[in-house]
C-alpha cells in the first residue's frame, strides 16, 4: 500500500446540512489532517453520522465548503471522491462471496474503463493482498451469512481499502461487535491505519473508544464542533462543560462555583484511607462515594463508600453514570494500601489537587483556558 500524506486532507468551512426544517449540521468548521485517525464523537443526534455521509458524498451539504485533498468536491458524486466508507451494519452484498464483495469496486472500474481499469490478474492479486492483510484468506469463498460478526467487519474493511482510498470513513465500526471482539477489532483498525496510511475518520458514540484510538479527537454537539484537538488536549483542557462531561469515564463531576461551575475528574482525586478505619483497597476497585458538598482545600473531604466494582485497569470502567451527575460522585481508586478491601459504608477521604480543577463560566466555557 502506498503511503500518501498529500491526499486525504479534509477541510470543512461553514458546512450546513438541513433536512426540511431541522438542521443536522450547523455551519460546521473542521480540519481533518491528512493521515490522521480522527475520531468524531458525540451524543446521538449531534450530527456525526450526517457529517460522515456528507463527507462520503451520499448526502449533499445545504451550504458551506468541503475540500478533500485541497480540492472542492461539492459537485462530485459519491464514487468519484477519493473516499471509501465502512457502514455500521457492514452492508455486505449478501449474494456475493467474500472475494466478490472485495473485488466488486475493482470489477466495476474494469467495466467502466476497459483499457485503463485493473486487469483480471490485478484484481485477483489485490483481493489476495487485502485478504492476507485482514486474515480473510481462508474465507474468500464464503458468503456473508456464513461469517461471524468480526469476520464480516473485516470484509467490510477490506472492501473499503481495496480501492486504496485517501480517506476511509468508518460509521460506528465496533458497535455491532460484542465486547471481546471489540478490543481486537480496535487493534485491527489501528494496525490498518498504520499500514495503509490513509486518513481514517471514525464516528462513534463511545467516548472510551474515541479516547483510546484517536490521534485527533472531535467532539460534536448540536450539529457543530464543540472542540477538536488531540485526545490529551480534550481530556486535560476541555473547552466547554459539554466536552468535559462527555470525554472521559466516569464523567467529570461538576458543581456550582461562583456564577459558573467547577469540575474535577474522579481519577484525579487522591483517595486516602486514613479515616477508613484501616480499610485498604485492592487494585482497581471502583468506589462510589456520596458527598453533600465538596471543598478542595486542606485535607479534602470525607466520603462514604456506597457501591464498589472491581475493574481490570485504571480507566477501564465503561459505565459513565450518565444520569444524575449532581449528587453521586465516582472515584477510581488505584493505590493499594495494605490488605483489607473496602466495604460498602467505609469512609474514605478524597483530595483533588487545585491544579486538576476545571473552572467554567456561566456559559459553560472554560475560564483561564
Amino acid at each position: 500500500m502506498t503511503t500518501s500524506t498529500i491526499a486525504g486532507d479534509i477541510q470543512l468551512v461553514g458546512l450546513t446540512k438541513k433536512y426540511g426544517a431541522s438542521t443536522a449540521l450547523n455551519a460546521l468548521d473542521l480540519h481533518i489532517p491528512a493521515g490522521s485517525l480522527t475520531v468524531i464523537v458525540g451524543p446521538s443526534g449531534c450530527g456525526k453520522s450526517t457529517l460522515l455521509r456528507v463527507l462520503s458524498g451520499l448526502e449533499t451539504a445545504t451550504d458551506g465548503e468541503l475540500l478533500i485533498g485541497g480540492l472542492p468536491v461539492a459537485g462530485q458524486d459519491a464514487g468519484d471522491r477519493d473516499v471509501a466508507m465502512v457502514f455500521q451494519d457492514y452492508a455486505l452484498y449478501p449474494h456475493m462471496t467474500v472475494a466478490a464483495n472485495l473485488s466488486f469496486g475493482l470489477r466495476l472500474q474494469a467495466r467502466h474503463d476497459r483499457r485503463g481499469g485493473p486487469s483480471k490478474a490485478e484484481i485477483a492479486q489485490r483481493v489476495a493482498q487485502v485478504g492476507g492483510l485482514l486474515g480473510l484468506d481462508k474465507l474468500l469463498h464464503r458468503r456473508p451469512a456464513e461469517l461471524s460478526g468480526g469476520q464480516r467487519q473485516r470484509v467490510a474493511l477490506g472492501r473499503a481499502i481495496i480501492r486504496r482510498p485517501g480517506v476511509l470513513l468508518l460509521d460506528e465500526p465496533l458497535s455491532a461487535l460484542d465486547s471481546q471482539l471489540r478490543a481486537s477489532a480496535r487493534g485491527e483498525i489501528l494496525r490498518l491505519h498504520r499500514e495503509i496510511g490513509a486518513t481514517l475518520v471514525l464516528v462513534t458514540h463511545d467516548q472510551h473508544e474515541a479516547l483510546s484510538m484517536a490521534t485527533h479527537l472531535v467532539v460534536m454537539d448540536a450539529g457543530a464542533v464543540a472542540q477538536s484537538g488531540t485526545p490529551e488536549e480534550l481530556f486535560h483542557a476541555p473547552a466547554t462543560e459539554f466536552v468535559a462531561t462527555f470525554v472521559g469515564s466516569p464523567a467529570m463531576n461538576l458543581q456550582p462555583e461562583g456564577d459558573g461551575r467547577v469540575g474535577w475528574r474522579a481519577s484525579d482525586a487522591r483517595i486516602s484511607m486514613a479515616d477508613a478505619a484501616g480499610a485498604t483497597t485492592p487494585d482497581g476497585l471502583v468506589v462510589e462515594g456520596t458527598t453533600e458538598t465538596c471543598e478542595f482545600t486542606g485535607d479534602g473531604q470525607q466520603v462514604t463508600v456506597r457501591t464498589g466494582e472491581r475493574v481490570g485497569e485504571r480507566g477501564e470502567r465503561v459505565d459513565d453514570r450518565s444520569g444524575d451527575r449532581s449528587g453521586d460522585r465516582t472515584f477510581i481508586i488505584t493505590q493499594r494500601e495494605g490488605e483489607r478491601w473496602l466495604r460498602v459504608g467505609d469512609p474514605v477521604r478524597a483530595v483533588i489537587p487545585p491544579s486538576q480543577l476545571h473552572h467554567f463560566d456561566r456559559n459553560g466555557l472554560r475560564r483561564n483556558a
Binding site: 462520503s56 458524498g57 451520499l58 458524486d77 459519491a78 464514487g79 468519484d80 473516499v83 471509501a84 466508507m85 457502514f87 451494519d89 452492508a91 455486505l92 452484498y93 449478501p94 449474494h95 456475493m96 466488486f104 469496486g105 466495476l108 472500474q109 467495466r111 467502466h112 458468503r143 451469512a145 472492501r159 480501492r163
Partner: protein
C-alpha cells in the same frame, strides 16, 4: 411460502426432535392433516381410482376398465394439443410473472413516496376484482361488432378484428388479459422481498461507482433470485390454471383448440362430456407430471445449496 420469498439465504434449522417431541406434535398437526386429507390427498386418491373406472357422473361408478381411460385419452388428438398449449401458456406467462413484476416492483421501491403508494394500489387492483367480472368485461370490450377494442383501433384507421375468433390473436388475448392479474400479484411478492433488502448495500455500491443500472443489475436483482426462481416455478405449474376463467368465459378453448389447455380440457371432459374416467385419467397425468417436475426442482435446488 412466505419464508421462501425472502431474498436472504437463511437456511432452515433442522430440529433434532426426540421421539417424545414427535409424539407431542401430533395433536397440533391433526387438524391441518385432517383438512389436507379431506380436501387434497383424499380427492387426489379418489381421482386416481376413478381413472381406472367407467363412470359418467350419474349413478354409481361403473366397472373396472384398467388403463382404457388412459388409452382413449392418448388416442384423442385434443388432449395432446391441450398439453402443448399448456406449455405455451406457461412460456408466454413467464415474463409476466417474473421479469415484468420484478421491474415494476423495483421501480416503485426506488422511488418511495405517496405517488408510489398510489401506483402500487392501482397496479394491484386487477387482483381484487372478481375474475369472472373481469373476463365478462373483456368479452364486451373485445366484441367484434360493438366492442370498444375495434372502435379504438378504427380511430387510427385499422380494420376491425375478430379478437377471440381468430386463432392468430385468441391465445395472445387470453395471455394479456390474464397477465394483468399475475403481474399485479407477483409485483406484490417482489415488493415484499425488496422490503427485506438492505438499502445500505445500494449506498455501498454507489460509493464503489456503480451506476444506477449496475446497482440494479448486480446488487438488487441477484438478491431477488430466490423469489424469481419460486415465482418462475409457480408460473410454469399454474399458468394453465390462471387462464382458466378467461378461457372459460371468453373462448371455451376455441378457436380450433388454440386457447385450450389441460385444465380446461379436464373440465370439458368431466362436466360437458361426462367422461369422468377420462377426465380423472387426465388429472392424474397432470398431477404426476407437475409433481415429478416440482420434486425434481426441489432436489436440484437442495443439492445446489449443499454445494
Amino acid at each position: 411460502m412466505t419464508s421462501l420469498l425472502t431474498p436472504t439465504p437463511t437456511r432452515g434449522v433442522a430440529t433434532s426432535g426426540s421421539p417424545r417431541r414427535g409424539a407431542r406434535a401430533w395433536p397440533y398437526l391433526t387438524p391441518v392433516l385432517a383438512l389436507l386429507l379431506v380436501w387434497v390427498y383424499g380427492p387426489a386418491l379418489f381421482t386416481g381410482v376413478l381413472s381406472f373406472l367407467e363412470w359418467n357422473l350419474t349413478g354409481a361408478p361403473g366397472g373396472f376398465v384398467g388403463l382404457d381411460n388412459y388409452a382413449r385419452l392418448f388416442r384423442e388428438p385434443e388432449f395432446g394439443q391441450a398439453a402443448g398449449q399448456t406449455l405455451l401458456y406457461a412460456a408466454a406467462l413467464l415474463p409476466f410473472s417474473t421479469i415484468i413484476p420484478m421491474f415494476l416492483a423495483i421501480m416503485l421501491w426506488q422511488r418511495p413516496g405517496r405517488a408510489s403508494t398510489v401506483y402500487r394500489s392501482l397496479l394491484f387492483l386487477p387482483v381484487m376484482v372478481a375474475p369472472v367480472a373481469v373476463a365478462v368485461s373483456w368479452r364486451f370490450i373485445l366484441n367484434p361488432l360493438q366492442g370498444l377494442a375495434n372502435e379504438t383501433i378504427a380511430l387510427v384507421g385499422l380494420p376491425p378484428m375478430n379478437w377471440l375468433g381468430d386463432p392468430a390473436s385468441a391465445l395472445i388475448v387470453i395471455v394479456i388479459v390474464t397477465s394483468a392479474k399475475v403481474t399485479a400479484f407477483n409485483m406484490l411478492l417482489y415488493s415484499a422481498a425488496l422490503s427485506t433488502l438492505d438499502r445500505r448495500t445500494l449506498e455501498a455500491a454507489r460509493l464503489e461507482r456503480a451506476s444506477a443500472w449496475e446497482t440494479t443489475r448486480f446488487v438488487v436483482i441477484p438478491q431477488l433470485n430466490r423469489t424469481t426462481v419460486l415465482l418462475g416455478l409457480l408460473s410454469i405449474v399454474l399458468a394453465g390454471q390462471w387462464v382458466f376463467t378467461n378461457v372459460s368465459v371468453l373462448t371455451q378453448g376455441g378457436p380450433d383448440g388454440v386457447t385450450d389447455n389441460v385444465y380446461y380440457r379436464i373440465y370439458t371432459l368431466g362436466f360437458e362430456f361426462f367422461e369422468t374416467g377420462m377426465a380423472s385419467a387426465a388429472a392424474a397425468i397432470v398431477l404426476l407430471f407437475f409433481g415429478i417436475a416440482s420434486l425434481g426442482w426441489v432436489f436440484l435446488r437442495r443439492s445446489r445449496a449443499r454445494g
